[in-house]
């Protein structure tokens, strides 16, 4: 499967093969970008952070010992890069400019069932916006853990590897994040009544 290919790409990239590293970028860029987006709150900063993350990864590939998966290692770098980016912007007011907004990616998927009428489609978009707003208001650690678990689909163990924390801590964070999110969405009232 890909695993073999990925190992070969990693080995080649360690020897300076940028083409092999490009393959690794292609395989992980969306997930890394998504993580950066949920951490930083807008697409421009997320693109910069994702680029920085891959560049750092390429330059420190020799330190990658395969003790964790490449994806976990890459996500850990991404989390650190985003923390650094947030630290640099600490003086500026933090504004999740995009998280609460509708962007092109939240537009109706072409695969949306044709049975969905315009009213249902509109309601679904409103619900998604409400979820984004509620997510944006969560504390960062809760938000990232929840995104990794629910949106990215990582296991507790993988997330604990990314954060370098215990699995129990990750579970606790996710549970609290979910409760906080549910509380926030509960205030939206009718939007989530019939879901």
């Amino acid at each position: 499967m890909k695993c073999n290919s990925e190992e070969q790409w990693i080995a080649a990239a360690k020897n300076g093969d940028t083409t092999a590293f490009d393959q690794l970028v292609e395989a992980h860029q969306d997930r890394i970008f998504n993580l950066c987006y949920w951490q930083l709150g807008n697409r421009d900063d997320a693109a910069d952070a994702a680029q920085d993350c891959f560049v750092r990864a390429f330059r420190s590939l020799s330190k990658f010992r395969s003790e964790s998966t490449f994806a976990t290692w890459l996500h850990r770098i991404a989390v650190n890069v985003c923390f650094d980016a947030r630290h640099k912007k600490r003086k500026a007011p933090l504004a999740y400019t995009d998280l609460g907004k509708e962007d092109e990616s939240s537009l109706p998927d072409p695969a949306t069932p044709l049975s969905e009428n315009p009213e249902q489609r509109s309601l679904r978009r409103e619900r998604q916006q409400a979820v984004r707003r509620a997510l944006a208001n969560l504390p960062e650690h809760y938000r990232i853990a929840l995104v990794l678990f629910e949106i990215e689909g990582y296991s507790y163990e993988t997330i604990s590897g990314i954060f370098k924390t215990k699995t129990g801590t990750v579970k606790s964070r996710i549970n609290r994040a979910r409760l906080a999110l549910a509380e926030a969405l509960g205030q939206e009232g009718e939007l989530f009544k019939n879901t």
């Binding site: 940028t18 590293f21 490009d22 970028v25 292609e26 860029q29 969306d30 890394i32 970008f33 998504n34 987006y37 949920w38 697409r43 997320a46 693109a47 994702a50 680029q51 891959f54 560049v55 390429f58 330059r59 990616s105 939240s106 998927d109 679904r124 619900r127 998604q128 979820v131 984004r132 997510l135 929840l146 629910e150 949106i151 579970k171 996710i174 549970n175 979910r178 409760l179 999110l181 549910a182 969405l185 509960g186 989530f192 879901t195």
Partner: protein, 402 residues
């Protein structure tokens, strides 16, 4: 089946929430039973399940198309070498220029911040020396030639004067104090035609003075006997008219033979006389010396220069301060204004903490200060007494000196 509490139920529903077939899963029958019986927990659980569904329906963010190309561009570029800041001074001439400029600026500021540049005394003293040098340079009269002092003749220790010559920028109080003595003595000695110098004297004379003295040697020497008698008679008559109480005998006027003899009390006497001198006494001495010069056919220019020369005067100022306070730690600070300086060697010539101690009512603190008056302006002296612990001002007074 075991009945669960709300807390127990909420601890377990995290696992349950991910089960796709909630109804069919028999492992969570107790949780399901609690949810059916507890409306609050059921409401929250339903909201959590809905939230999870909404989260999973959120479209994942796609990376921009340019990201991959940007990453490739960046990793293919040679990595910039990080140069430590201290090495950048060696590499970049611009940094080097800035650094050297900063060092020069600091050096200049440090020079300007030296205490000598802050006190008026320090500015006046070199001027006096310069004036003296100009006098000697412009006048070919012999009196200024022998400005180089010697211990027996000038009543001044040779080492002090050598210090004065070597460090003309550090005039402090001593040069000012000794200037009139040297002046009078040297002029008198010149009148006496004393051209012979000891080796020590020759060492102490600066090259400029040496050249001036060479010029002056070419002039006809005045009659020494006549001048000596004139000066002595003048001094005697002055002393008879105004006998000073503590004034030492006029040491500057003395013969060469007498000057060569060791004089044990001479220094003390002179110091005492100058510490007690008033402006009138100084003027009278200047007048007598001027008369002597006038009588000895010295060129008129020399006399004029002699007259305009500023002569600092030493004043002994005393005041007793009586305390109206009981203070554990108090201090008195004396600040000099308008052409005054402390007569002794001190780092600051204009301000000094004069007294520290405990005060009680009626305690008398005598202030006895030897001062140099360096200009003819009205001289003022400011006395400030404060409580050192609280900073409270106990006395704040200006004294005008005559």
């Amino acid at each position: 089946m075991k009945q669960l509490s709300c807390d127990q139920c909420r601890e377990r529903w995290d696992e349950l929430i991910h089960k796709s077939t909630f109804e069919a899963d028999s492992q969570f029958a107790d949780v399901r039973a609690h949810l059916e019986s507890c409306a609050d927990c059921r409401k929250i659980f339903e909201l959590l399940a809905a939230t999870r569904q909404e989260l999973q329906e959120l479209p994942a963010q796609k990376a921009p198309a340019s990201l991959r190309a940007n990453i490739l561009n960046q990793i293919e570029k040679p990595q910039e070498q990080h140069i430590p800041w201290w090495r950048s001074f060696l590499v970049s001439p611009q940094h080097l220029a800035w650094a050297s400029g900063a060092i020069v600026a600091v050096f200049v500021v440090a020079l300007l911040m030296r205490p000598e540049h802050q006190t008026p005394v320090m500015q006046i003293a070199p001027k006096v020396l310069t004036n003296r040098g100009q006098v000697e340079e412009h006048n070919s009269a012999p009196p200024q030639v022998s400005i180089s002092p010697s211990k027996p003749k000038g009543d001044l220790p040779a080492k002090d004067l050598s210090a004065e010559k070597v460090l003309p920028e550090k005039p402090l109080a001593k040069p000012l104090e000794k200037a009139p003595k040297v002046k009078l003595q040297t002029k008198t000695r010149a009148k006496l035609g004393a051209t012979k110098k000891t080796k020590q004297q020759q060492k102490l004379v600066t090259p400029a003075l040496e050249s001036a003295s060479d010029k002056k040697r070419e002039l006809p020497a005045p009659n020494p006997n006549r001048q000596l008698s004139t000066m002595q008679s003048q001094q005697k008559s002055e002393q008879q008219k105004n006998p000073p109480q503590h004034l030492a005998p006029p040491a500057p006027i003395m013969s060469d033979s007498a000057a060569n003899e060791p004089r044990t009390n001479e220094k003390d006497g002179i110091a005492k006389s100058y510490s007690q001198n008033s402006a009138n006494q100084q003027d009278s001495m200047n007048r007598s010396a001027a008369r002597a010069l006038r009588a000895s056919e010295v060129p008129a220019g020399a006399i004029q220069k002699f007259k305009v020369q500023k002569v600092p005067v030493t004043i002994h100022w005393s005041k007793t301060i009586t305390s109206d306070y009981d203070v554990a730690n108090a201090e008195i600070t004396v600040t000099l204004q308008n052409g005054l300086a402390f007569a002794d060697d001190t780092p600051s010539h204009v301000k000094r903490t004069w007294w520290r101690g405990t005060l009680h009512r009626g305690k008398q603190i005598p202030l006895e200060i030897d001062l140099h008056r360096t200009s003819e302006n009205d001289a003022k002296l400011h006395v400030l007494m404060i409580d050192s612990d609280t900073g409270k001002v106990l006395l704040d007074k200006n004294f005008k000196l005559p």
